[in-house]
């Protein structure tokens, strides 16, 4: 058995179309230890899903190597498939006219289970995840929260050693997202799954769940470590949160001017559309924000409040990339 549950060496994936060449993964080198939840954090289009698809044998790399549970994903794809499963947060793979139970039965049969063995496995998954409430409901009528639980159960049906979770809580409300995170955490703690590779663009999710995190942007791993180690990268920085009002015009221009200030490591904005209020999060190498305030005062933006905040994982990304995860 390999020393790592997942390992990639200079993994590269290029997509070519008639008029465009996209480098989705650019010589990615990363390792995931056994027995951990490893987070892959990055904005949309960073290469997270491409990486998971290569690791789960759905896509071939353009160059480089990737190993899952010690098996080469290109040459030993069938062995890889025996030890993995993939749960994509955006899908509910199954047949809408059939019940949750029937869908789990179908996927169980695809993994060679039948009769009592299959019944027992579905019962175990019910106990683990809590499916009883909607076991006899058709898949098409399940709520988003129920569908996520079903998807997780489907991903565990074959007792995989390594589980890939691609944005597992996307589209969920706070309460349901918390419930799914709790389930995911328990999978490792209870020894149900050996290793989980989780992709997300939710900071909170990664902070709550992951033992180790790799930050990916534009197909490259730009930082790695535990949440604390990553936060240490911004321990000397100062984080300001500035609430401003604007009619929307010129906000991006102001942001670009702020980014030009030498002491500014990164700036991101989030907007509250209804009130016209914008929240600017600025990571700085020094405490003096005179230069920032001057730029804001000269613009059409009206300053409502200025606060200091604790550095978070999001600020690590801001510092490394210069922009927010959702921008």
């Amino acid at each position: 058995m390999s020393s790592y549950a997942i390992e990639t060496v200079d993994l590269t994936r290029v997509f070519r179309s008639k008029d465009r060449v996209t480098i989705a993964l650019d010589k990615v080198n990363f390792r995931v230890r056994y027995g951990v939840i490893h987070g892959l954090l990055g904005p949309n289009g960073a290469g997270k899903t491409t990486l998971i698809r290569i690791l789960s044998t759905l896509l071939l790399p353009t160059s480089g190597e990737a190993y899952v549970y010690g098996y080469d994903v290109v040459r030993e794809a069938s062995k890889v498939r025996e030890v993995i499963n993939l749960v994509s947060g955006e899908d509910r793979p199954g047949y809408g006219l059939l019940t949750t139970y029937d869908n789990l039965k179908y996927y169980g049969m695809l993994y060679g289970m039948k009769g009592g063995e299959l019944e027992e496995r579905i019962r175990e998954l019910d106990e683990l995840i809590g499916l009883r409430e909607f076991m006899d409901k058709e898949l098409s009528v399940l709520s988003t929260g129920m569908a996520k639980k079903y998807s997780l159960a489907r991903g565990l049906i074959n007792k995989p050693k390594i589980l890939f979770l691609d944005e597992p809580t996307i589209g969920l409300d706070v309460e349901n997202a918390r419930a799914i995170r709790h389930l995911i955490k328990n999978l490792i703690e209870d020894g149900v799954i050996e290793t989980i590779l989780l992709t997300s663009h939710y900071m909170k999710e990664v902070e709550d769940l992951c033992d180790k995190v790799s930050i990916i942007d534009r197909g490259r791993i730009i930082a790695e470590g535990t949440v604390e180690e990553l936060k240490n990268k911004v321990s000397d920085e100062v984080v300001y949160v500035i609430h401003v009002y604007s009619n929307g015009k010129g906000v991006d221009e102001v942001l670009n001017r702020l980014r030009e200030i030498e002491a500014v490591s990164g700036v991101k904005k989030s907007a509250t559309q209804a009130t016209g209020e914008y929240v600017l999060r600025i990571v700085m190498e020094e405490e003096d924000i005179t230069g920032i305030l001057k730029i804001l005062e000269r613009s059409d933006l009206r300053i409502k409040r200025v606060d200091r905040d604790e550095a978070s994982l999001e600020d690590v990304f801001l510092k490394l990339v210069g922009r927010g995860l959702d921008e």
Binding site: R81, P93, D102, G112, R154
Partner: protein, 268 residues
């Protein structure tokens, strides 16, 4: 558990889903039985009104029954595989490591069972309500032709499935384009000898036409196995050729699938 058994279980699982899914549509009796019966009846009454020989009732009943299988191949294999891809089921399937051919076989078997039940009902309605007459002693010969027709149709289905995976939504248009001309050429409601020789030759390239003609010759005109041998040879050749082409196409799609992500690429 042997690999072969696991693959066969895959085909069974997909057939079970297809069968169960069909029954889950509560209005299936309306769509599957009542509407096709009304359509079949309208053609039968047209022939009766024109004082056509009674033999034509049998033609219409068998044409309707066999056509069901053709539509099942068109809509039931290619389209289903396409929607499996669009809804993320293809990803979940490919990760299991099972053969896509077993998935297709399951789709075909499930479709055959559903269509078989529907067709058997239409056949009984044709016999007991509209008075279609068939030679009972010809049933074994007709069954042989029928099974060979199914084999070649479902091998054609593999070709359609691979084309659907490549062309995506355009594949659905392809079904529409192919549906009516093939219904016309196959002689669903009439013997194809009404066509000029050139059209008959083109029509004979379709397994449905050959199969339908063979089943009619057996059940209505009482042809024996020797007289039916051209049909048997032609359908066997078609099965082998379509299987070869289908497997070659599908293997290429699977290869492209992993290389370009085509089997998991959505909304194309």
């Amino acid at each position: 558990m042997s690999k072969i058994y696991r693959e066969l279980l895959t085909a069974y699982a997909r057939a079970w889903v297809r069968f169960k899914g069909n029954l889950a549509i509560k209005t299936w009796v309306l769509w599957e039985i009542i509407l096709p019966t009304i359509f079949m009846a309208s053609v039968i009454y047209a022939y009766k009104n024109l004082n056509a020989p009674p033999i034509f009732i049998g033609f219409v009943v068998l044409g309707t029954v066999m056509m069901n299988f053709w539509y099942n191949v068109l809509w039931g294999m290619g389209d289903v595989l396409y929607w499996d891809k669009e809804t993320g089921k293809m990803e979940a399937f490919l990760i299991t490591g099972r053969s896509i051919y077993m998935l297709l076989m399951g789709m075909a078997l499930g479709g055959m069972i559903n269509t078989g039940l529907r067709s058997a009902t239409l056949l009984l309605i044709g016999i007991y309500i509209f008075g279609a007459e068939f030679r009972l002693e010809a049933v074994p010969n007709a069954t042989l032709i029928f099974l060979l027709t199914l084999a070649s149709l479902y091998c054609m289905g593999i070709i359609f499935s691979s084309l659907h995976l490549v062309y995506g939504r355009k594949g659905i248009k392809m079904n529409e384009v192919m549906g009516i001309p093939i219904s016309f050429l196959s002689g669903q409601f009439y013997p194809i000898n009404v066509f000029p020789t050139a059209v008959q030759m083109v029509a004979s390239l379709l397994p449905l036409t050959v199969g339908l003609d063979g089943v009619r010759r057996a059940l209505i005109e009482g042809w024996g196995i020797w007289e039916l041998s051209p049909h048997i040879i032609l359908l066997t050749i078609m099965t082998i050729v379509f299987l070869q082409i289908g497997v070659r196409f599908m293997n290429r799609i699977i290869e492209m699938g992993r290389r370009d992500g085509r089997l998991i690429l959505r909304w194309q």
